[in-house]
Structures are given as C-alpha cells and as structure tokens.
C-alpha cells in the first residue's frame, strides 16, 4: 500500500524533508529579497532622465546598455543552465570552489533581479506623471522623487508581482539540485535513492512545496491589505464635531 509507505517514509525521514524545505525557503526568501533590491536599484537607474549632452549622457547610456545586457542574459537563459555555468565556471576560471549554498543565493538573486528590474520599471512607468511633476516642482531631484514619492507607491503596486516571484523561486530552487544544493528536491532524491520509493517520496515533497507556496501566498495577501492603509481617518481639532456626530473610534 502506497499510503502506508508515505507515512513510513515521512516518519523515518522527516528531519531531512524539513531541513530540505527550510533550505528551499531560505534560498527563495534571500533570493527574492536581494533580487527585489537589485530590481529597485536598476529600476531607478534606468528611469533617470538622460541629459541631452555631456559626459553624464555617455555614462548613463553606457550603464543602461550594461544593465540591458544583464537583464537579457538572465531572462533569456534557464536558471538550471545559469547554475551550471556560474558554479563550474567559477571553479574553472578563477579556481574558486564556491560554497554551494552561497552559490545558490547568488544565482537565485541575480536571476530574480533581472525579472524584478523589469517589474520595477513597469511599476515606475505606471505611476501617474503628475506625481513626478509635483515632486520636481517643489525642487526634488531624481533620487528624492524616487525615495519619497514614487518608490513607496511602486512597492505597493509591485507587491503582487514580487510575491509571484517568491512563489516561483520556491519551486525553481529545485533546479539547484544540479549543483548539489541540499534543498527539498535534492533531499527527496537522496531519500528516494535509498528506499527506491520514488512516487511516495516525491508525493511528500509535492505536498511540502504546496504548503509552502500556499502559506506564502496567504501572507502576501495579508500584507497587501495592510499596505492599502486604513479606510478611515479622524478629523483633527473639534470644529466639525459641533455639527457632525462623531463616529466612535478606538481613540
């Protein structure tokens, strides 16, 4: 009976499953956070208005070109291939034997960064032009406009897409088993290799993946609602209370 085997495999190997799941979650979390930061920085750089002439124009053009190449390469090749090229490439080219976990953080981060910078750029472009103009009109420069006005709005707008990246990363870290990172897929493969119960072992893995992605999705929904801000506000002062009955509040 398969079901008995599933119970048996899990009770015998649960520390390995849980450790694998933990590493998967850790890689996905760190990769998404660093990737999002990369995306934010690149998004801000790529939206700097390019001056008509001078050194600054040449420099910006050059940086933008480099960033475009980065984005195209990492969006245009599979992460499984990137993992192999980077991990073994480092070993051959520089003689560096990367720590596998560090390599995993690195690969997932720059891969996510490439996607996130396009998401951030889209987020910045979706902000009403009037917000930029109002910020410029009171004398803010590009960086001040971004940090005080635009990015806070962008962050809220791109949260669903960022959560999506997180969920994708939880699943896609499984490809890192090719460089022997001991995440959930790799752990499951080892367990199944010992007991030869591939279906049962991977069934357990699939349930754990589903629990992780589902939980993360719920948490992000909650965060989105939080970031929407309160629906209500209280009037300061008391002039209005004279003619308007005040709605009871928790203050």
């Amino acid at each position: 009976m398969s079901f008995d085997w599933i119970i048996k495999i899990f009770t015998e190997n649960w520390p390995m499953f849980i450790r694998g799941a933990g590493i998967t979650l850790l890689i996905a979390l760190i990769g998404t956070i660093i990737g999002a930061m990369i995306g934010l920085i690149i998004g801000v750089i790529r939206t700097i208005p390019i001056p008509e002439k001078g050194m600054k124009r040449a420099l910006l053009k050059f940086i933008n070109a480099i960033l475009s190449i980065y984005i195209e390469i990492f969006r245009g090749t599979p992460m499984i291939v990137q993992a192999m090229v980077i991990y073994y490439g480092m070993a051959i080219a520089f003689g560096i034997d990367m720590d596998r976990l560090l390599a995993a953080f690195f690969i997932v981060s720059i891969n996510t960064g490439a996607y996130m910078s396009e998401i951030v750029r889209g987020g910045i472009l979706s902000i009403d032009k009037g917000q930029f103009e109002a910020a410029h009109a009171i004398g803010m420069n590009h960086l001040q406009t971004m940090t005080n006005v635009v990015l806070p709005q962008v962050l809220r707008n791109i949260l669903p897409a960022t959560g999506n990246e997180f969920v994708i990363n939880i699943k896609d870290t499984s490809v890192l088993n090719v460089i022997s990172v001991s995440e959930l897929f790799f752990a499951t493969k080892s367990i199944a290799g010992n007991n030869f119960k591939y279906f049962e072992s991977f069934f357990i893995a699939s349930v754990i993946y589903l629990i992780m992605t589902f939980t993360v999705t719920r948490i992000l929904r909650y965060l989105e609602r939080k970031l929407e801000g309160p629906e209500n506000y209280n009037l300061a002062g008391n002039q209005m209370q004279v003619d308007t009955p005040k709605i009871p509040s928790n203050h």
Binding site: A134, A137, I138, G139, M140
Partner: protein
C-alpha cells in the same frame, strides 16, 4: 516695484509644432497676473516652461538677474522658489495631508520636522484644511485636494505662485472654495501667475491680464482694458465666445 521674473523671446516646440513663439513679459513682485486664452493657445505650456517642467526651445528666463536656462544653473533650487499648483492636484498619494505639506520642506529645504510641521499647520489653516491632516488624498474631494495642493506649495514659501488651471478639473460647486482661497492669497500680496478659464476671477482679482492666442501674447493690459476695451479683434472674439458660454 521689483521684477520677479522676466521672460525674453521664449519659444517652445514639440517636434515641428511651435507651441510658443517669441514670448516676452515679466511679473513684478506682489502682482497677480492672469493668463487667459482658448485651449491649445499655449498658456499652460508657458507656465510649465517657467518652472522648467517643459524645457524651452529658445529664449531666456531671468530670475533675480540670472538666466536660469544656463546649463550651470541649479534647477531644483530655482524650483523651490516657485510654487506650482496643478490642474490635476497631484498630491503625493503615499502621504497624508500633513506629510504632503512637510516632505518638500524637510527633504529639499532641510528644515527640521518641528519647523516644517508648524509651517504646514499654518498654511493648512490658511486654506481651511487643518482638520484633515491625517487624511490621505484618496479620502478628499477635488476642492479639498486642490486646497491642500495650494498649502503644499505655500509651505515652501515661494517667491511666485504658479497656478495651472487650478479649477478646471473641479465640479462646479467646488470651484468657489478654491477661488476664495486664491483670492485671499492675492489680497495678502503674494505674487501670482494664474492660467485660468475663470473670467470672473481674472477680471476681479488680477492686476494684469495676458491674452494668449496661437502661441503668442496677443494682448495684455489691466482687466479693465482687456475685458472692457480690448484692442485686438481676436481678444474680442475670444471674450465673446467664453462670456456667452458662462450665461
């Protein structure tokens, strides 16, 4: 009277389309100038050129004896001296009313939080929005948003206030509250440059009226001259059209 801003031979083209042609005029300290004209006559573009939201194609903008179109001139510092009020309000959506009035003071003028808050409250009181300091822009009506936007600009304590059709996006019943605030500001001696379709306002409040047509200043003078004794045929045409609509 001291001249605040002088504009000389200003021109602006979008591609091959010339929106402004050889504009010359100046604003003196304490003066309220209304710019009127039909849609597409270039009046908004002129205002946006003055604070460099649009980059003029040619000419000079002289502020305090300096041509601010020089490459070396600090645009951001110049802009803090001009308060801009937009047709679409453009309040910062991520900040509440109080912060909308404070963020520029703190981040750009480097004022302390306490000082910024004091000034913000002062000017929010002027526009009658001091009770709403904790409200977000999405909670406010159009008229309320525009009054906060005016307070936000005033908080920077600018030399000149620029109003770009401040009542055009408002429901008719809210136009009055915004015009009332603007009238009070004008009476307080603030230098104002107002692009408007509100002929009553232009006639009553301004010291000088500029009529623009097809990218040029067709006529300028006191409200009395422009509204009662226009010398140009196209001014008469425009006034006939707009004043008829108002009835």
């Amino acid at each position: 009277m001291e001249t605040m801003i002088t504009i000389q031979h200003l021109s602006k083209s979008f591609g091959t389309h010339e929106v402004l042609k050889d504009i010359n005029f100046s604003v003196k300290k304490g003066e309220v100038v209304s710019i009127i004209g039909s849609s597409g006559s270039g009046k908004s573009t002129l205002l946006r050129c003055i604070n460099l939201l649009e980059k003029p194609t040619g000419g000079e903008i002289i502020y305090k004896g300096e041509n601010i179109l020089d490459d070396k001139h600090n645009v951001n510092q110049y802009r803090t001296k001009l308060g801009m009020v937009f047709q679409q309000f453009n309040l910062f959506n991520n900040h509440d009313v109080l912060n909308n009035c404070m963020v520029g003071q703190v981040k750009v003028l480097k004022r302390s939080k306490e000082e910024a808050q004091k000034l913000a409250m002062k000017y929010l009181k002027v526009v009658g929005m001091d009770q709403y300091i904790h409200a977000k822009p999405k909670h406010l009506s159009g008229g309320q948003k525009q009054r906060v936007a005016i307070a936000r600009a005033l908080c920077m304590e600018p030399d000149v206030m620029l109003f770009d059709e401040p009542t055009s996006a408002l429901d008719p019943e809210m136009v009055g509250e915004v015009l009332k605030v603007m009238k009070e500001l004008a009476e307080s001696g603030l230098t104002m440059l107002v692009v408007t379709h509100e002929m009553e306002f232009a006639r009553e409040v301004s010291d000088r009226v500029v009529f623009m047509d097809k990218g040029v200043i067709a006529e300028e003078g006191t409200p009395e001259q422009i509204f009662n004794h226009p010398t140009q045929e196209r001014t008469r045409e425009f006034l006939k059209r707009t004043l008829k609509q108002n009835i």
